[in-house]
């Protein structure tokens, strides 16, 4: 047998060729290189900031001149008015409590939806019989918007708080379930075979193949579910709540505090954005093979 490199590369390989010691690049070259690498991102950030400023400016102009052109800006608060009520609100424990309560409802409802929806989707995707039993019911219930459940939820649950959490749960449950199922249906059968002829049994195949292979779709489901959770929560709070940022916004309308309406809306937007960023971050942590 010839002493080929592949066959004979023993435990003591030749020392790898060392790169000759280089003088470290100057700060200028580093900065230039960094700029070149991040040019696209810098550009996007710059344009993004400019466009936000433009939005604020248009808003400011429309409200200071009280433009009426099909839509009426007569009563719409200006950005400055909203800012003023924001500075007031952050020192107001009541406002903070509204936000905290909404977050708690989202946290409980969404977590329950994920804890039930993901495993259920995985099991339905793996076991035909479970799929055949549960899928029809899910398909019938799925098109009903969570808001349509409000009266039913109030009847079902003893407290208002529970029914609102239930609505939030329902809103996020179906997107999570459906996307998990979808992910399971797309698992590459060749990978399952590869695992099988490496000695993997049912349990390991589930844990080592089906689950990680479905993770990208599970996270799509979680992201969509989080969005719908907020939609459902706000609607439920506006209809039947006593606290919460949705209730705050609606109450502001009733009390003719127009600046607070916009403040509530912006708070909802920021909370929604923050929670979807959290999920994206979790996704990157859990799926390191997909980042960069």
């Amino acid at each position: 047998m010839p002493a080929t490199a592949v066959a004979e590369a023993g435990p003591a390989p030749a020392a790898p060729p060392k790169t000759p010691p280089k003088t470290p690049p100057s700060f200028g070259t580093l900065a230039l290189r960094w700029y070149r690498l991040n040019q696209g991102r810098l550009r996007a950030t710059a344009i993004g900031i400019a466009s936000l400023i433009a939005f604020l400016l248009v808003w400011h102009l429309l409200t200071t001149y009280r433009v009426v052109f099909f839509v009426r800006f007569t009563n719409v608060p200006s950005p400055l008015a909203v800012y003023a009520s924001f500075t007031k609100a952050i020192h107001d424990p009541k406002f903070l409590m509204h936000i905290l309560l909404s977050c708690r409802r989202i946290f409980i409802g969404f977590s329950l939806a994920a804890i039930v929806g993901v495993p259920l989707g995985l099991i339905m995707g793996r076991f035909k019989l479970v799929h055949e039993i549960i899928f029809p019911v899910a398909e019938v219930l799925r098109p009903i918007p969570a808001i349509a459940w409000v009266p039913m939820a109030i009847m079902l649950w003893p407290t208002n708080e529970q029914s609102i959490v239930f609505i939030t749960f329902l809103g996020s449950f179906f997107p999570i379930l459906v996307n998990t199922l979808h992910g399971m249906s797309l698992v590459d059968p060749v990978l399952v075979r590869a695992a099988q002829c490496l000695g993997a049994r049912e349990r390991s195949i589930f844990r080592e193949v089906y689950f990680p292979a479905s993770l990208p779709h599970i996270f799509t489901g979680l992201t969509v579910g989080m969005g719908v959770a907020w939609v459902s929560l706000i609607a439920a709070e506006m209809i039947s709540g006593q606290y919460g940022i949705g209730y705050f916004t609606w109450e502001a309308y009733s009390l003719v505090q127009y600046a607070d309406i916009a403040l509530g809306m912006i708070a909802i937007g920021v909370l929604g954005l923050g929670s979807s960023l959290l999920i994206r971050g979790a996704g990157q942590l859990v799926m390191p093979w997909r980042s960069t």
Binding site: M1, P2, T4, A5, V6, A7, A9, P13, D188, V190, L191, R193, A194, A195, Q196, C197, L198, G199, A200, R201, S204, E208, V209, P212, A213, L215, M287, P288, W289
Partner: protein, 290 residues
């Protein structure tokens, strides 16, 4: 490594009276019929044949993914019924787990066997070193070239020390140069591990260059048309591919396959008259150009 070399005389594949048909709407599709093949311990055997003749079907039955409709598949006298780590498999589509690093992929079989983490890490590193991949152990598969992915695929299949290695057109998606390197690597590993190999390929040169014996299959429903021993001495060099012995084997296999491929394409093509084609190509007719 010693564990892998423990049973050099094992890995005898025997396929007898084998046929397999798939169920479809139009009734059963006979994919493979009346087939007998065997691979002796430590032997390198290839299967060639026209597209769709049932090579993958046969290989998947040996792997245990498909049940024979009639006949029996045994390895060392034991009937195959279901996939197992005793029969390693390498797929054309690479089939590495994208969520595992190169090393974790290689470790997978050992992990399934319950080997403790530190031990299997060490084993995986050794194996990756043999395939020249130690620098990539922490990479995820989608960062690798096709050739590297397939090297990992082979190493992963060998890590558990299987009795036989089954490969289904493993180099089909690689470019010509990478292919040659991969053939060399596979030969090296096979010789070191003294493992039986059943290798499916489209490429006649590849089959001759690698094998001790080549089975040529008929068009669908596939059966064995011919069994060709390859008496070329080992170790084989790239230069042998120009030898008259190699070329004679090549000519023989080529004409066998051509016959079957024409049959597979429907027969009429055999007398596809060029006179009917009058396409102008730079002033020549297509028939002239060909």
């Amino acid at each position: 490594m010693s564990e892998m070399l423990a049973n050099p005389s094992k890995g005898h594949i025997e396929v007898r009276n084998f046929s397999l048909s798939y169920d479809s709407i139009e009734g059963p599709v006979q994919a493979v019929t009346d087939t007998q093949i065997h691979v002796k311990p430590g032997e390198f055997v290839s299967i060639v044949g026209p597209s769709g003749c049932g090579k993958s079907t046969l290989l998947n039955a040996v792997a245990g993914f498909l049940k024979p409709t009639t006949g029996i598949v045994t390895v060392d006298g034991e009937r195959v019924n279901g996939p197992s780590a005793e029969r390693g498999m390498v797929f054309q589509q690479y089939s590495l787990f994208p969520w595992k690093t190169v090393r974790e992929n290689v470790e997978f079989g050992l992990k399934m066997r319950g080997m403790p983490r530190s031990q299997r890490e060490r084993a995986a590193r050794t194996l990756l070193g043999l395939a020249g991949l130690e620098a990539f152990e922490k990479h995820y598969p989608d960062k690798l070239s096709g050739g590297m992915k397939q090297r990992v695929g082979i190493v992963r299949a060998l890590a558990t020390g299987p009795k036989v290695l089954l490969l289904d057109e493993p180099f089909g998606a690689l470019d010509a140069q990478t292919r040659v390197i991969m053939q060399q690597i596979l030969t090296n590993m096979w010789q070191r591990l003294k493992i039986s190999v059943l290798f499916v390929t489209h490429d006649i040169d590849e089959a001759i260059f690698l094998s001790d014996r080549v089975y040529c299959m008929t068009a669908r429903p596939g059966s064995i048309k011919a069994e060709i021993p390859i008496p070329l001495e080992r170790p084989r060099q790239q230069s042998m591919m120009m030898s008259s012995e190699f070329l004679a084997l090549r000519r023989g296999l080529m004409s066998l396959i051509r016959e079957e491929s024409l049959k597979a394409m429907g027969g009429e093509i055999t007398d596809m008259g060029m006179q009917g084609l009058n396409i102008e190509l730079h002033g020549h007719s297509l028939a002239d150009v060909i």
